[in-house]
Symmetry: C2
Subunit: 495 residues, 2 copies
């Protein structure tokens, strides 16, 4: 993509000054429109060393309202970032509705040619990066985000000239290092690699714009014009788009959904009290030890708990964590989304909570709410929840690629058992607050939930993130089974 | 406080096992009650090296619901923490309603005797630490938080015994270092210092409990009993407390409030266009340079913008930030609080946004909302907003002690000018979205706001965080004045 670029394009100072005033006004005006239409805009800058990213970003910001943009610079790698799946720092910084986020360098760094010192990735790893990047961008675009990607291209001579100029000044000397010079010396090789990267991440939904940047005036104007036209296009696309689908369409053709829950045998899944106490102690001892091993091997764990109301999630989680070092895990209770969360991609609030390497995050309810409660209550459109299965699989795939060990538990009880538990809660003054009108309303929708759960079990069970159905009519049995699954798998993975 | 402690207290294993079961049940039950009453509980553990903090915390957690507690361990100091006012990491981790937060070491570390290697603070600095800590704890207690502080006390012999045992085992050897041994060798000196620390931070609202910890059984039981009785007391205190004051009481006896705004002269505060452009460029150039200087000197800046609706905050902020390196500042727009924010102390959401050393945080509206909109609209009680002046002064004092440079701007226009701007916004299709029904409603309350603003200007102007009234009928004049104040002060501070 780069070889045929005409790098001699330039704009005179006079022309530049003449055009910029109007361009700044236009950009300001489209920002206002995007804000009022609540369009989230994500802008990416990549390019050669010394191609002028910093300068151009400053120029782009100039007319913008600083309350509605932010700039994410990913140059410095903190522990927080290094110890997490590579998309984490980007996913948690994606813009909310109406905001503009500019990434100075981006997730493409994983597939960019880096200096000699950088760790080399295998072909398989690289393929996975491409898959992750594609899935990530698609997901954002599907949710209504506008992604605009720029690659700033300069010639070998121009780059050399700029390096020398930087080195000459003692204040900027530090900005040029060996890796930079390597890029210049082996310019042709790097150009080929950049091209390959650009081609393979030039997705239909989020194309690259190559910016000829030997001449800064030309580059600035091209960036401005691209931004203005892309945002304007998005504004008119929205104006023409069919009105959003009815949100309350919740029924589904369940014919193709296998009745997985119906086949679960809940009978005789019990354990005696003495046996329970003994096994529990053994397993808790084991998991406590495995917790330290996770830390020393810098592996992380994500556990998602789902299940019927009153299935015993709280007690189950407690037995799992009781002997773990409290500095090593976090329990994340998931309630309805806040206003800020609603203004982001629905996975955003889960991304933020993903554990650092060496730690466990335990979710009490999870991202599966999208295809259960949100689907059933009509909190999202059919299109949105239908898309969610793939989005969820992609996120879990990405976590797994980073080495995260994933467990997903469905705590299963039957309808009679739930009724018995609801009634007993209502009669116990200490537990009354645990049961609300909403629980009873959800109970009335048992069949709808059953269908939704069957569908998600079918569509999101994968080799890297399988579902485990935990028979929970006997809470003790359920706790032991969960602990056994976790300890067995961790022992295997941490061998 | 420590010298007279009886460290021979002990509990036999048999007695211990007999009591613990019932204590665990009681603790679990008071946690549930505290949760349903939405009481936030903050527990602090301090003590001698090897006094057994870790073990006791684990034991306390044992019966608790892991979805409703978290443990904050402040042993490792990251850049994030080191480059911020010392209360920052604690303030942003205070529990929300119904949750329990346990601090394994706390803000008292600033006044604890530390090893030889630690930086020594001057008497004045120490006095400020005490003031900050007192103010911080009082603030939390006033907002309804229960603070329970434990100091684990062991004897010289016991400590030595434990150090030797730790050193004997190769897995735990690393846990004892020179500083620890120093504590043991100079035990008496340290005991005196600990005592002094405890006495001077034994506030009425948040007393210390000294736990005799030579015998672990005794220590555990004492911690349990204290927790149970303190939480129970809080529960019955709430039950007996008078019902919360009417929230809609907003009128105030304004007789003692000086009419500061009334004396502001808005006439002739204007600037010519050419003069404006020239000055603006100079000042922006200057502030851009000062931004880098802030970074290199690791000083941080907090700027709070307040002012009448349509006074021009957005445009003013834009001129201030336009030439700053976007990686060095953040603009924080403040809207109504989210559900999560409402469940915390009202300053919590601002604490979270305080800048790292070397950076600027610019707040578009701020913590002063408490004594303006929240007061006027009855979103908080009279008692709450009356208390807020001191709370705000204390927070700003603390920031200043850390070296944060604070600016507070009131952008002032008169009522006619506001009407003209509202009308012009309404007639401009591009700006219509900026004006809402609420703006008109607020305008009707002009006099109430005027009173509230006069009062806050009077009560929260301090030498370390003065208010600046910016005459803003002419926006250009206002922008220059703001920039001049900021650049002049920064030049002075960064000399």
């Amino acid at each position: 993509m780069l070889e045929k670029t005409n790098l001699t394009l330039s704009v005179s100072e006079k022309q530049f000054n003449k055009q910029m005033k109007s361009l700044e006004e236009q950009l300001q005006s489209v920002q206002q429109k995007a804000l009022s239409l609540k369009i989230p805009v994500l802008i990416v800058f990549e390019g050669w060393s010394a191609a002028g990213k910093g300068t151009i970003i400053s120029k782009v910001l100039h007319p913008l309202d600083p309350r509605h943009f932010n700039v994410i610079s990913t140059r410095r790698m903190s522990e927080d970032v290094l110890y997490r799946p590579f998309l984490w720092q980007y996913a948690k910084n994606t813009p909310q509705e109406g905001k503009i986020t500019i990434f100075d360098k981006s997730w493409h760094r994983m597939i960019l040619p880096e200096g000699k010192s950088t760790r080399k990735f295998s072909e398989l790893e690289k393929e996975r990066f491409y898959y992750d990047i594609n899935a990530f961008e698609n997901q954002l675009v599907d949710s209504g985000m506008l992604i605009i990607k720029f690659f700033l291209h300069i010639s070998k001579d121009e780059q050399k000239k700029r390096f020398l100029a930087l080195e000459k000044d003692k204040d900027t000397k530090w900005r040029v290092n060996e890796t930079d010079w390597e890029q210049n010396k082996e310019y042709e090789k790097y150009q080929l690699r950049f091209s390959r990267m650009l081609e393979s991440s030039d997705f239909e939904a989020s194309r690259w714009t190559i910016v000829e940047a030997d001449d800064k005036n030309h580059a600035t104007i091209k960036v401005y014009k691209t931004l203005i036209s892309r945002i304007e296009n998005e504004i008119s696309r929205r104006a023409q788009a069919a009105p959003k689908q009815e949100l309350n369409e919740t029924s589904d053709n369940g014919s193709k959904v296998e009745n997985i829950l119906g086949k679960v045998n809940l009978v005789n899944k019990t354990v005696e009290k003495d046996e329970y106490k003994k096994r529990l102690e053994e397993l808790q001892h084991k998991i406590s030890y495995l917790g330290y091993k996770l830390y020393s091997k810098r592996r992380s764990v994500v556990i998602a708990y789902e299940g019927w109301d009153a299935a015993g999630k709280g007690g189950n989680i407690k037995r799992l964590t009781q002997m773990l070092d409290p500095r090593g895990y976090e329990v994340v209770p998931i309630a309805g989304p806040t206003r800020e969360e609603l203004a982001h991609h629905y996975l955003w609030r889960f991304w933020k909570q993903m554990p650092k390497d060496g730690h466990l995050s335990i979710f009490d309810r999870s991202w599966y709410g999208r295809v259960m409660v949100e689907r059933i209550e009509g909190f999202c459109s059919r299109e949105e929840w239908s898309r969610a299965y793939k989005e969820i699989n992609d996120m879990e795939f990405h976590l797994n690629n980073h080495g995260v060990i994933i467990f997903k538990f469905w705590l299963h009880i039957d309808k009679d058992e739930q009724l018995a538990r609801f009634t007993s809660r209502q009669n116990d003054p200490l537990k009354q607050f645990k049961i609300t009108e909403e629980d009873w309303r959800n109970r009335d929708k048992w069949d709808k939930y059953e269908l939704a759960v069957n569908e998600l079990l079918q569509k999101t069970s994968s080799s890297y993130a399988p579902w485990h159905i935990i028979e929970s009519n006997d809470k003790k049995f359920a706790r032991l089974k969960t602990l056994e699954i976790v300890t067995t798998e961790l022992e295997k993975q941490l061998k």
